[in-house]
């Protein structure tokens, strides 16, 4: 498995990404910006922490792209399950950072980092099956969509937006976990057929 870790670049890319993720979460957990909106007059109040998971997603995409397609597909090792494990560990690490910071700093935006990372990871993995590596832009696109049309009022996001929902909102957690599971399954199936 160390060879798989080396191939994916997990030990170099992911720790760096998590450090950057932590620093950004520390800096931005209580920052709010008024950004353009199509549905709200005067713009949307967005927690900047919503953008922070992009760092982990970019790193995860980079790791999953670092593969030897032909030997992996024709081999006997279940590297796709290792990739799934990498995905889950990355999301859990982001969640751990978020919970730790959220508890210490009493920050709701930090507490939901793990949930949001899970949700956006699901979008990334599902998108890769259709669009390939360019799907790394889909999570950013989702955040922009939430910014533009995701709010009914300043404090009331639509249920499907997930990212701005408060901590503990059950449907948001369900959607996030579902998205992540779907993404992992789609990744398994589509990668196997990629050749």
């Amino acid at each position: 498995m160390t060879l798989w870790l080396k191939t994916r670049g997990v030990l170099t890319v992911m720790p760096l990404a998590l450090v950057v993720f932590t620093v950004l979460a520390l800096l931005l957990h209580d920052s709010v910006a008024v950004l353009p909106s199509l549905t709200l007059t005067g713009g949307t109040r967005m927690q900047l922490a919503m953008f922070v998971p992009v760092v982990v997603l970019v790193a995860l995409g980079r790791c999953l792209d670092a593969r030897l397609p032909a030997p992996e597909v024709s081999g006997v090792r279940h590297v796709l399950w290792l990739d799934a494990a990498l995905t889950v560990v990355a999301v859990l690490a982001a969640a751990a950072v978020g919970v730790a910071l959220g508890s210490v700093l009493d920050s709701e935006a930090a507490l939901v980092l793990g949930r949001n990372t899970a949700f956006l990871t699901g979008i990334l993995l599902c998108g890769r099956a259709v669009f390939g590596t360019v799907a790394v832009l889909l999570p950013v696109l989702w955040i922009v969509t939430v910014m533009l049309v995701g709010f009914r009022t300043w404090t009331d996001p639509y249920f499907w937006s997930v990212l701005p929902e408060p901590h503990g909102e059950p449907h948001a957690m369900v959607l996030a976990v579902t998205a992540l599971l779907c993404g992992i399954l789609v990744h398994q199936f589509s990668t196997r057929r990629a050749l």
Binding site: L48, V134, V136, V140
Partner: protein, 428 residues
């Protein structure tokens, strides 16, 4: 390379539908209402408002796709092929569709807004748009440079987020000078205002200098360290220059005012309104003169030389004097309030805060003399502290005064003017 193959092979083509859809949706959802209600057909205001939220989108798109195109050239080993054409030409060809898309994102809402009102662009109105176009190109270059070293799957999403926030976020900060150097002109220009070249320079200098510095790194002259030094100096000088321009500014940048052309009609008074405001200056002037005539008949001797529309002063209207009145004529004409505005200005009290009961009596009487009692009544109804009983009492009192002789009304007016200022402590 022909145009269509160049477009077809560019990443900007597959991003264009979404980017332009956001642009168009944003215009029709947000901007078009302002253009219809608040712009009065003033081209600089139309342009600045149309652009106000599009800057960060356009720059982020330029940077993201610029890095993607660069990554594609690296993957195709274009730089190892040893092209005969200069590297700048190869990069330029790759960036044309990217810059084209981002420029379209800023030009499209401006064109839609100008067409919606039927306004013609002026040279002054184009300054924010020129700024946006220049910075679209600068951010495309920045993205391209990043893409030479960082994989596009990493560079594109990170640049999208970083550029967007770097441009959009500083407007929310209390460090005001920051919002004047990011490339997002933070001010929707009011009527009569024009963005200054200085404010454009403050926005353009940092990003353009950075793009220029990155381009200098590629020059086939001197050593890399020397070129890097030149680049660093360029960025430093430009950033310091931008900061020194903007450091004393408040939340809004300085603007040129009274830039709109006035059309003046009539005499005693001459009535001046902005050209292209959509209202009939002749009709407004006739209303003003008729009201003044009626008021003179009841002893209110207001005779301004000129009446000017406050619209042209933007957000800092001038004070009226006895000879030159400043009234919101365009807005008043739209709302049917020009005659009433004239009454209010003509009834001048010798103190700044006259007693409210006395002043309402006087204004009500003058409005009735000018035929504007209905307007007076409906405006008073908007005051939640003024109920129907008080309204009836006021109208009865005004009727009693109106039933007196002309001389008695003149005397009453003089007495009430003085009383309003003598009694102003009663309601405090």
């Amino acid at each position: 390379m022909k145009v269509w193959p160049r477009l077809r092979s560019s990443s900007a083509l597959w991003g264009a539908p979404l980017a332009l859809a956001v642009t168009v949706f944003y215009y029709f959802s947000v901007t078009s209402a302002y253009v219809a209600d608040e712009s009065y057909g003033y081209a600089p205001g139309i342009v600045s408002y149309s652009l106000s939220s599009m800057y960060p989108f356009a720059y982020a798109v330029a940077a993201a796709f610029g890095s993607w195109e660069s990554g594609r050239l690296v993957r195709a080993s274009i730089w190892d092929v040893g092209p005969v054409r200069s590297r700048y030409r190869v990069a330029f060809d790759a960036l044309i569709p990217v810059v084209g898309l981002s420029v379209l994102m800023v030009v499209l809402p401006v064109v839609l807004a100008l067409v919606q009102w039927g306004a013609y662009p002026t040279l002054g109105s184009m300054r924010p748009l020129l700024l946006a176009v220049a910075l679209c190109a600068a951010y495309a270059v920045l993205g391209f440079a990043v893409g030479l070293w960082v994989r596009p799957e990493v560079a594109s999403p990170l640049l999208t987020v970083l550029v967007y926030l770097a441009v959009a976020y500083p407007v929310a900060l209390d460090t005001f000078w920051l919002r004047h150097v990011t490339g997002q002109y933070p001010h929707a220009l009011s009527y009569g205002e024009v963005a200054t070249w200085q404010s454009m320079a403050a926005h353009a200098l940092p990003a353009c200098a950075l793009a220029g510095a990155l381009a200098v790194l590629w020059l086939p002259v001197g050593k890399l360290a020397q070129r890097a030094l030149v680049g660093v100096l360029m960025v430093a000088v430009a950033s310091v220059a931008a900061w020194s321009i903007a450091r004393e500014w408040g939340p809004t940048p300085p603007v040129e005012t009274r830039a709109a052309e006035l059309a003046c009609v009539g005499t005693r008074p001459k009535v001046c309104m902005p050209k292209g405001s959509g209202e009939d200056a002749g009709a407004v002037g006739a209303d003003v003169r008729e009201v003044l005539h009626r008021l003179r008949n009841v002893g209110i001797s207001a005779s301004p030389e000129k009446v000017t529309d406050t619209l042209i002063d933007g957000r800092y209207p001038k004070e009226s004097t006895d000879s030159v009145w400043q009234l919101a004529l365009t807005k008043g004409s739209r709302d049917g309030l020009v005659r009433y505005q004239t009454v209010r200005q003509a009834v001048a009290f010798p103190c700044t805060m006259p007693d409210i009961h006395a002043s309402r009596m006087v204004v009500g009487w003058a409005a009735a003399a000018a035929g504007e009692q209905q307007t007076f009544r409906s405006l008073l109804r908007e005051d939640p502290s003024h109920d129907a009983r008080e309204q009836r009492a006021l109208e009865e009192a005004v009727s009693r005064v109106r039933s007196r002789t002309a001389d008695e009304q003149r005397d009453w007016y003089r007495v009430m003017r003085a009383k309003a200022c003598a009694d102003r402590g009663r309601d405090s």
